[in-house]
């Protein structure tokens, strides 16, 4: 798989996690792509943490008038039934537990569900934006990322980059499989048959329990 194929696979599998009638916040980058693969019978409202619910892409013939941007600063539109509000209400929605699911990328995730995704000290410090709030407030946190970075595992025993949140992640979706974060550690519940279980374990620093009923992740998408 090339990078684009991996990202598409991850986006498709993550989209399958979204529940009908739920409020969802997608991080910028890979997570945003999930919006393209939501099943037809599932109706999801997207929140944009800069201040609205009802986020949608611009229609083909729609002009950007500069008044609506998403959390990445890109021009977007608003669905019927959506609403604009200020940042205090927006993070009230997030911290108050009204976001059913957030999907975020990560630099590292570990066996405790800790996540690091906002800085590499001395090198890259974009800042946390709304990620720390989403990780604390969203009911379900899904990490969508490639399994390794330049061949090195990103799923670790212990994150060594500064944490964005501790014990926050519920599910990890990569091109290799789907991993549940439990109190007992990480459990592989689905895997991509393009890889062997041993290859997946090899690419994962943290110990990985293989679910008894581990499934083929590509069947669900």
């Amino acid at each position: 798989m090339n990078k684009e194929e991996m990202q598409t696979l991850i986006a498709k599998r993550v989209a399958y996690e979204l529940e009908d009638q739920s409020l969802v916040n997608l991080g910028i980058g890979l997570p945003t792509k999930a919006a393209n693969y939501i099943p037809d019978d599932v109706e999801v409202m997207f929140q944009s943490e800069n201040g609205f619910v009802g986020l949608r892409g611009l229609k083909e013939d729609e002009e950007d008038d500069g008044t609506i941007v998403n959390a990445g600063g890109q021009p977007v539109g608003i669905e019927q039934g959506g609403a604009f509000f200020d940042s205090s209400t927006s993070f009230g929605i997030i911290r108050g537990g009204y976001v059913d699911c957030t999907i975020l990328g990560a630099l590292q995730v570990d066996l405790h569900g800790n996540i690091a995704n906002y800085m590499i000290p001395g090198k890259m410090v974009p800042g946390m934006g709304g990620a720390m709030d989403l990780l604390e407030g969203a009911k379900k946190v899904i990490v969508a990322m490639q399994h390794t970075a330049k061949g090195s595992p990103k799923i670790l025993n212990e994150c060594n980059l500064p944490l964005t949140a501790s014990e926050a992640v519920d599910l990890i979706v990569t091109e290799m499989g789907v991993i549940e974060v439990t109190n007992q550690g990480l459990t592989l519940i689905e895997y991509n048959p393009a890889f062997t279980i041993d290859e997946i374990k090899e690419a994962t620093e943290a110990p990985l329990t293989i679910a008894d009923d581990v499934k083929d992740m590509t069947l669900n998408i």
Binding site: N50, T67, G73, S87, P126, G127, S166
Partner: protein, 220 residues
């Protein structure tokens, strides 16, 4: 009281070293002419409070580009490489604040609270130097108010009493910053007389606003 005035008059008391809040998110809903006025007036050593620093030639990014900022509170600086460079090279003191915490700290200042308790940032670098409290078994950080001398904000429409309406996602931080500064200046597209804005549809009451300036006017 008629709060409509020129930019020149509105910014006359802003001085070097002031703490300045600037509304907007990646520049969306930032007040472009007020930012330019700061640069023209050559205001320096600013403590800037803003969601982000947009891009290098855009919105609050211009103040970073021209090295007017000595201290920055923001939630995200990744879209402006110059901010990262100045921080890494020790030219700029940056405090990264989670976005939800940032707006709550601004609101706490405006609304007269001594602080708020949040779980956001617990177990991360954000908790460094902060008071931690445990209430009913949950660990919280005490986040304290962020006050400012001046707030420069943006709205779609004002009446002459300073009542404001916003459009689209441009409200973002503007609404709470209006309350949190000693002096609040709003840049708008449209100004109407008192009585011409439905009092039910006011989004920021004029009591928070000191000066209204109209975008695109000859503001001398």
């Amino acid at each position: 009281m008629d709060k409509l005035t020129t930019i020149k008059e509105a910014v006359k008391n802003i001085k070097n070293g002031d703490t300045i809040m600037i509304g907007g998110f990646m520049g969306n809903g930032a007040p472009p002419e007020l930012i330019d006025a700061l640069i023209e007036k050559d205001i320096r050593d600013i403590t800037l409070i803003s969601s982000d620093t947009a891009k290098i030639d855009y919105a609050s990014g211009k103040l970073i580009r021209d090295k007017r900022v000595k201290k920055l509170y923001a939630s995200h600086i990744g879209t402006n490489k110059e901010t990262g460079r100045q921080m890494t090279e020790g030219e700029l003191d940056v405090e990264l604040v989670p976005q939800g915490t940032l707006v709550e700290r601004i609101r706490a200042a405006g609304f007269g609270l001594g602080g708020i308790l949040t779980t956001t940032g617990v177990g991360t670098r954000v908790e460094e130097g902060k008071q931690k409290l445990t209430v009913d078994g949950v660990n919280y950080l005490l986040e304290t108010p962020l006050h400012a001398d001046v707030a420069l904000i943006n709205a779609k429409k004002a009446d002459k009493a300073g009542n404001l309406q916003y459009q689209g996602s441009m409200v973002n931080f503007n609404a709470m910053m209006a309350a949190a500064a000693k002096t609040t200046i709003v840049e708008v597209d449209e100004v109407v007389e008192k009585g011409e804005m439905d009092p039910n549809l006011v989004m920021t009451p004029g009591v928070f606003v000191d000066y209204v300036v109209k975008r695109g006017e000859d503001n001398e």
